[in-house]
């Protein structure tokens, strides 16, 4: 069953406005937090074991503690770029409860002592940006933002910044470059953003859900939050279920929830007559799980890592047996070929190469050696670049080829798909713009 820690009142429309939000206990936690000492808030978050909900799963408390201890100006950025295919939880949270995000951000900003924060939303979410802008106006009008918030002497300004269509801006430093008005290309690390990020000042970048999760932790305390989820992966998380499943959507469940129940109970199972073939558990860059592996998997960071994949952003894509895995891989390699920012050579050329090899197999002109070449190229792209996009491009290729190799070999030998029997004309490899 769902445990609606954050999404309890999402079904109420007025919850989107300030009055509706306050009626359900909104901004009380902010008042409580402003009375606490900032370091106490950080310790509380660290004690709660909250880990990043955006995809990396890095402990939020630890990330906050990297900030230098002086009172040099620092920024809090909310990463709402949500470009990972399969993920649509941030959009729902921003459209249904903008004030929840704003309150979480003010508490976090107070904890790390930041005077200015931005919410970087991907350009396509025009509606969500509109809702956020209106919520910010309401918050400023109600004295919850700007100078001397709720009389606590802490002043903070917040603004929404719209992106313009680039998956790479979901990466921490890519987003920072985009905010600085440059091309959204990731920056060299070190220096890490906590030391030198936006405009070379210390910067903390957190996902929408991570910042919203700060509210229950401060309201009920770290111990109460740790009751949900498993020992190392605490709390609840939104999972975006999509693909060949009857009831796709966002479900908030405690971590450690079984993947099988998520698909067949909450997700309403597959279409009649179809069998489960593969599940991508954590967004398109997470290695794929076969049906058997999916049956015994539980949705938490440790189990996913143990099965050789990642919890990532919690986007579960269900693939049934009516789909050809080579075609699905071609779709993903085209995505990464289109979204690579082109800064580092292994990723810029490698994503293009992988895409062309898969599409030459799809067009029936593949050779058996191509399959091993895919593995070699993907292996030599991993870990060689500034950001993790080349790893994200390589992992699907490696996992698809390793776990569904017979299907690739059939395609090469027969020149057509084992499942659908079709071949794709070779034009697909060309990029349109």
């Amino acid at each position: 069953m769902e445990t609606k820690l954050l999404s309890e009142f999402y079904h109420i429309d007025e919850y989107r406005g300030l009055a509706g939000y306050k009626a359900k206990g909104g901004y009380d936690v902010l008042a409580k937090a402003l009375k606490m000492a900032p370091q106490a808030i950080i310790d509380e978050v660290k004690a709660s074991g909250l880990r990043g909900r955006g995809g990396a799963g890095f402990s939020t408390g630890t990330k906050w503690s990297f900030l230098p201890k002086n009172n040099e100006p620092r920024y809090l950025l909310c990463n709402a770029d949500e470009g990972e295919p399969g993920t649509f939880k941030d959009r729902m949270m921003m459209e249904r409860a903008p004030h929840q995000l704003i309150e979480g951000m003010i508490i976090s900003a107070f904890a790390i002592g930041s005077k200015k924060s931005y919410i970087y939303v991907r350009g396509e979410y025009f509606y969500a940006i509109g809702v956020l802008r209106k919520a910010l106006e309401e918050a400023y009008a109600a004295g919850l933002l700007g100078k001397n918030i709720l009389g606590s002497g802490f002043d903070h300004d917040m603004d929404v910044y719209s992106g313009a269509g680039a998956y790479i801006c979901g990466e921490e430093t890519g987003m920072i470059s985009s905010l600085e008005g440059l091309k959204g290309q990731p920056k060299l690390k070190p220096p890490f953003p906590a030391v030198q990020g936006y405009l070379r000042k210390p910067t903390i970048v957190n996902n929408v859900e991570t910042l919203a999760a700060v509210i229950p932790i401060i309201r009920d305390g770290a111990a109460a939050y740790k009751k949900f989820g498993t020992e190392k992966s605490t709390g609840t998380k939104f999972f975006s279920l999509s693909g060949n499943v009857n009831k796709p959507g966002n479900y908030e469940v405690p971590l450690g929830y079984s993947l099988k129940d998520m698909i067949f109970k909450l997700g309403g199972g597959l279409k009649p007559g179809r069998k489960l073939k593969a599940v991508i558990p954590g967004g398109s860059s997470a290695p794929v799980l076969t049906a058997e592996e999916a049956e015994r998997a539980t949705l938490d960071y440790e189990c996913m890592a143990q099965m050789g994949t990642m919890l990532g952003s919690g986007a579960i894509i269900v693939i049934d047996d009516a789909n050809c895995m080579v075609d699905c891989l071609g779709n993903l390699t085209h995505f990464y070929h289109h979204e690579s920012c082109g800064q580092c050579t292994p990723c810029r050329e490698g994503t293009g190469w992988l895409d062309k090899i898969v599409h030459s197999i799809l067009s029936g002109k593949g050779r058996l050696a191509d399959i091993d070449l895919l593995v070699k190229v993907a292996d030599n792209m991993k870990g060689r670049t500034i950001c993790a996009l080349s790893d994200a491009a390589a992992l699907p290729v490696l996992s698809f080829v390793q776990k569904f190799r017979p299907e690739f070999e059939y395609f090469v030998r027969e020149g057509r798909s084992q499942v659908t029997g079709k071949t794709k004309e070779a034009v697909h490899g060309e990029m349109h713009h």
């Binding site: 949500e82 470009g83 990972e84 295919p85 399969g86 993920t87 649509f88 941030d90 959009r91 200015k116 991907r122 350009g123 396509e124 979410y125 025009f126 509606y127 603004d159 910044y161 719209s162 992106g163 313009a164 269509g165 680039a166 998956y167 985009s178 905010l179 600085e180 008005g181 440059l182 091309k183 959204g184 936006y198 405009l199 975006s240 279920l241 999509s242 693909g243 060949n244 796709p248 959507g249 966002n250 991508i280 398109s284 986007a315 894509i317 693939i319 789909n323 075609d327 699905c328 779709n331 993903l332 995505f335 289109h338 979204e339 920012c341 349109h432 713009h433």
Partner: protein
Amino acid sequence: MIKVTENQQSAQFQLSAEGTAKVKSELTRYEDKMSAIIPALYIAQNENRGYISESVIKHLSQIMDIPESRINEVFKFYTMFNQKPVGRYHVQVCGTLSCHINGAPDLIDHLCKELKVKKDQITEDGKYTVSRVECLGSCGTAPMMQVNEVYYENLTKESAMNILRGLK
């Protein structure tokens, strides 16, 4: 020897007075004036029939006092800024994995056939451009499309065509 010349076919682009004021306000809104490039490009694209030409970049460069190559770099990096003219309604159908396995390719072919236009081209009446785009963050309601600023979800071939016909 190919000479990179400015194609003269687009007349010198001028932002409207109100557009210029918005761009000027964006310049001072953020911590650093370079952050105003993306908002400025959005404003210019809306005033230039949905796409950005070279003279737009020259004009923005004069107003914002930022080198042309910096603005051009940002403009050509992001996919939501169109380099070629598009129809009044830019029908962007998502084609990434969750939509792909829920029938997005057939939907795109169907729309192209119905509107008698090839991908990324404009229909004769200048009303529609159909193009395949990457994940729009609405995978739970696949297949779906975004027309200018509005998301239309859980589409079938018929419902999509009805929506498009309904647009003025």
